[in-house]
């Protein structure tokens, strides 16, 4: 875990037309933070995108995230969510892999 964790912008949908995209904030925890080097990141996806779509975009941008894809808790606006949930504008999507250290 590095001391400096930066925030970065990512446009998953470069040709976003007015009203057809939503801007969300992705929060990374634990191993997800190590793998991306980020603690959070704004992200733009087309409206109607699911958490699953967001994860696909994230894995495309950070292929190493594939490692923990099968073992994480997703939370949308601090509440448990499944991958099928639709993300809305200004939503916060948290990616929480388990920590096992002690």
């Amino acid at each position: 875990m590095e001391g400096k964790i930066e925030t970065q912008t990512m446009d998953a949908m470069p040709e976003g037309k007015e009203g057809s995209s939503v801007k969300i904030k992705v929060l990374f925890f634990a191993r997800a933070r190590d793998l991306t080097g980020l603690s959070e990141m704004p992200m733009e996806v087309s409206s109607g995108s699911s958490a699953h779509d967001c994860l696909n975009d994230l894995v495309a941008k950070f292929p190493s995230l594939e490692e923990i894809r099968g073992c994480l808790v997703l939370a949308l606006n601090e509440e448990y969510t499944t991958e099928s949930a639709i993300v809305g504008d200004k939503d916060e999507l948290a990616i929480i892999p388990p920590i096992s250290g002690g």
Partner: protein
């Protein structure tokens, strides 16, 4: 100089034996105190809420004046709890009647155990099979230097008894396994998971489901911590949340990734708090919610997590997971990692691609032309390194091959001036795993004579230079 060295050695030796003797005496004192406490309990002199044996005379005397069993000593000791309107006599009595098991007397278990002993849990169990080491001390605050090299259970039990001699401390000096977990857990009301590895976490959660015990689970690594209560009030178990174990690469250990000492301390304190709430039946336990602690950002988030999964293989509706299946379940195979994590020891290379630290030392002493590449991360290299080693962290090895080529050339020119002597290429890391991976890729990229130093810097410290720092 020589005699100074001998003096220092003699003093160190004497200090060691005195410390060991002191630790022995401390532990005998605690054991005797506990024995005395039980003897007085049997006689009804100091009735303890956790004990059914209370002399009827004192019992009736107490019941004449109060509707609780707190002795004057208890009232005095726990007075600040009793003064809390939302805690009071009832919650303290519940606590005194309860039993809590803490699995792991490390970074999380240290503060958890101290608070649980201090607060007056009736019976407090400790499971651990490890010994106290110097590099534990920065976070495992229950242990003292006198106990280095001795079992953590003994050390933790002595500390707990010295804080509160009226609590019954039970020492389980053994590794938790499917063969003993059911028997140990069944003697306690609340289980606290203060372990440091994935297979133990699955095993502890499953055992709690099978026995219907609430589980206070904490974890910490680096600068982050996680806390939740499993298998309680309709909440999920560990498997509901994480049905698939994380890949071994994602399971980092404090011994590899580092941890800021106070971070597990904070999570361990919160584990004690949750265990106290459950045992004393007050407040709202952290069930169905997970607390995420971010030390760098000074932020605590509490996220609602899923409820019990009806599909869960262990606690779900269709689950048929029994005690028998628990006993037969292979948690190491399930998580692909060992229950007692020890450093990984890879063996990827042929013997002729490897060299012992001693043999390497001899070659250096003979003035052999060579380049030593250290493939550890840069922040490891800053801790300590061998003279004239070239730090190229493993992930950047391929990109920085030209540096190795020119270092070899330079060395050949320096040593051989015109002869056709070729410089040797050696690779080292902390323990001798990454160095093998590096040599494998170097072979593929044309450096066919590259060799790794078996056992890395740890073997250098062990076999060549005992004063070389280990971390």
């Amino acid at each position: 100089m020589e005699s100074n060295g001998r003096d220092a050695f003699r003093i160190l030796h004497e200090l060691d034996s005195l410390r060991a003797a002191k630790a022995d005496i401390d532990s005998r004192i605690s054991a005797l105190e506990a024995e005395l406490h039980h003897a007085t309990l049997q006689n009804g002199v100091v009735p303890n809420g956790s004990s059914p044996v209370i002399s009827t005379a004192i019992d009736s005397l107490l019941s004449d004046h109060h509707d609780h069993n707190l002795t004057p000593e208890m009232i005095h000791r726990y007075s600040r709890h009793l003064l809390l309107p939302s805690f009071g006599v009832q919650a303290q009595s519940n606590l005194l009647n309860s039993s809590v098991l803490v699995v792991g007397a490390g970074g999380l278990g240290s503060p958890a155990l101290l608070y649980l002993a201090a607060c007056g849990v009736g019976r407090l169990g400790i499971v651990d099979h490890d010994v106290v080491e110097l590099n534990n001390m920065h976070r495992q605050i229950i242990h003292t230097e006198a106990f280095i090299g001795r079992p953590k259970v003994k050390s933790a039990a002595a500390a707990c008894r010295s804080v509160n001699s009226t609590v019954q401390i039970v020492e389980h000096q053994e590794a938790l396994r499917t063969s003993n977990a059911l028997e140990i857990f069944s003697k306690y009301d609340v289980i606290v998971d203060a372990t440091d590895n994935a297979p133990s976490r699955y095993m502890i959660s499953d055992c709690c489901v099978v026995l219907g015990k609430p589980l206070v689970s904490g974890a910490a690594l680096g600068l982050e911590g996680q806390l939740t209560v499993y298998n309680y009030n309709g909440g999920p178990c560990y498997r509901c949340l994480f049905p698939t174990p994380p890949p071994t690469t994602a399971c980092q250990r404090c011994a590899d990734s580092g941890v800021l000492g106070v971070v597990p301390g904070i999570i361990g304190c919160l584990q004690a708090l949750e265990a106290i709430k459950i045992a004393s039946v007050v407040g709202e336990p952290l069930s169905g919610r997970m607390l995420l602690f971010d030390a760098l950002a000074a932020r605590i988030r509490i996220v609602k997590i899923r409820g019990r999964s009806s599909e869960c293989e262990v606690c779900g509706e269709k689950s048929t997971f029994t005690q028998q299946q628990f006993r037969e379940f292979d948690y190491e195979k399930f998580t692909q990692s060992p229950l007692s994590p020890s450093p990984l020891k890879l063996n990827l290379l042929q013997a002729d691609s490897r060299i012992s630290s001693k043999a390497y030392h001899d070659r250096v002493a003979n003035g052999e032309a060579h380049v030593l590449v250290d493939v550890r991360p840069a922040h490891h290299f800053k801790i300590v390194s061998l003279p004239k080693s070239l730090n190229i962290p493993l992930p950047s090895l391929e990109a920085r091959l030209p540096e190795i080529s020119s270092a070899l050339k330079e060395e050949e020119e320096r040593k051989g001036a015109g002869s056709d002597l070729s410089a040797q290429l050696y690779v080292i890391c902390r323990r001798g795993n990454d160095s093998q991976r590096a040599v494998q890729s170097l072979h593929k990229m044309g450096f066919t004579s590259a060799r790794d130093i078996v056992g890395g810097l740890e073997s250098w410290a062990q076999d060549v230079d005992p004063n070389f720092p280990t971390y």
